[in-house]
Symmetry: C2
Subunit: 174 residues, 2 copies
DNA sequence: TGAATTAATATAACTGGTTATATATTTGTA
DNA sequence: TACAAATATATAACCAGTTATATTAATTCA
């Protein structure tokens, strides 16, 4: 009952927190999109995970890439890419071979199966793009603003900025 | 070498993807904030996790709450709250007792330790709020726009919208 | 050339969320 | 009142990222 009511009058604890709720709202939204995407793939019977998308894309566009090439460009950690690639490999979508010049490197490429499957996946991804456009229809600057936030954090991290703010406030009190 | 260059000229594979990179950028940002926050707590020597923040806040404001009260209001799943509460309990910040009226319910409250620790944590959270303000200084509508996106998705989920988009495109081809 | 440094990959352990499922208690109703 | 349905909590299994650490190969430089 209480929870029903809570939604009906559309209170949202996180939104009420204003700036203090920002990071949690971002995570909540990000998670919602992630699990909704998983659900979508399950419904349409596609045997892939949401986070394979970027790896499919980058390999299709750039051909053979090493693990670190991928992790650098996607700005994800190496272990993250290793896991994704291993999973894609186990489903037969990518194959790896050690570089002939530098035997430390694993060169990753899409398989025939991947190339055959891609058109179907690309139809899904086009539909997702449309959805993204839809949900941002009434806020056309959202993506640009997101870029500004990313850019600001590139200059100085969330942690560093907060340490600075903490220190300046503490000093003011003295 | 390549990866260095990649950053210097500030190319970003996800940003180049435009709408197709939206969800991944949201996740990347959300994760960056999360791990930066963990790092912050570690640096200042606070023995708490980022996701305890909301539970601290809601319990301070609303006093005793059941697990479902919390999960409904924060819009997180029950298991998520159970884990957070168990961790907070193991550190002595909350205590639970079964409701006298409805013995299914676990009533959660902040402990003395929590109340004593809160002022220190609140100083951190105030600094975080400042940081949020800082990184959104040049995009004052970002939070409002985030609200619009959340609102749009409340109407129809990411998955449902995408299924619709997929069907309408497919039909157009016939 | 040999030793120290750097780079690439791999693995372990962790946090943080989700579904799916089970169990016990309450509530609603025939 | 008894039984079915709903509610509250708990647990298992999973996916998705991180940091920290180890290992091996390549590079640098004295």
């Amino acid at each position: 009952m209480y929870n029903q009511l809570y939604f009906v009058i559309c209170m949202d604890f996180l939104i009420e927190l204003k700036n203090a709720g920002f990071t949690s709202r971002l995570k909540r939204l990000s998670d919602a999109l992630l699990y909704s995407t998983k659900d979508f793939y399950k419904t349409v019977g596609a045997d892939i995970e949401p986070n394979w998308h970027l790896v499919f894309l980058i390999l299709k566009r750039q051909g053979a890439l090493s693990l670190t090439d991928i992790s650098d460009q996607l700005q994800l950690s190496h272990p993250a890419i290793i896991k994704i690639v291993n999973n894609m490999k186990s489903k037969g979508y990518v194959e790896t071979k050690t570089d002939t010049v530098d035997s430390r490197k694993q060169i990753i490429t899409l398989t025939e199966l991947a190339l055959v499957t891609l058109p179907r996946l690309e139809a899904y991804w086009a539909a997702f793009e449309e959805t993204v456009q839809d949900i941002m229809k009434d806020c056309p600057d959202f993506l640009t603003d997101l870029g500004k936030v990313e850019e600001n954090l590139r200059g100085s991290s969330f942690k560093d900025r907060t340490l600075m703010n903490l220190n300046s406030t503490t000093k003011q009190l003295l």
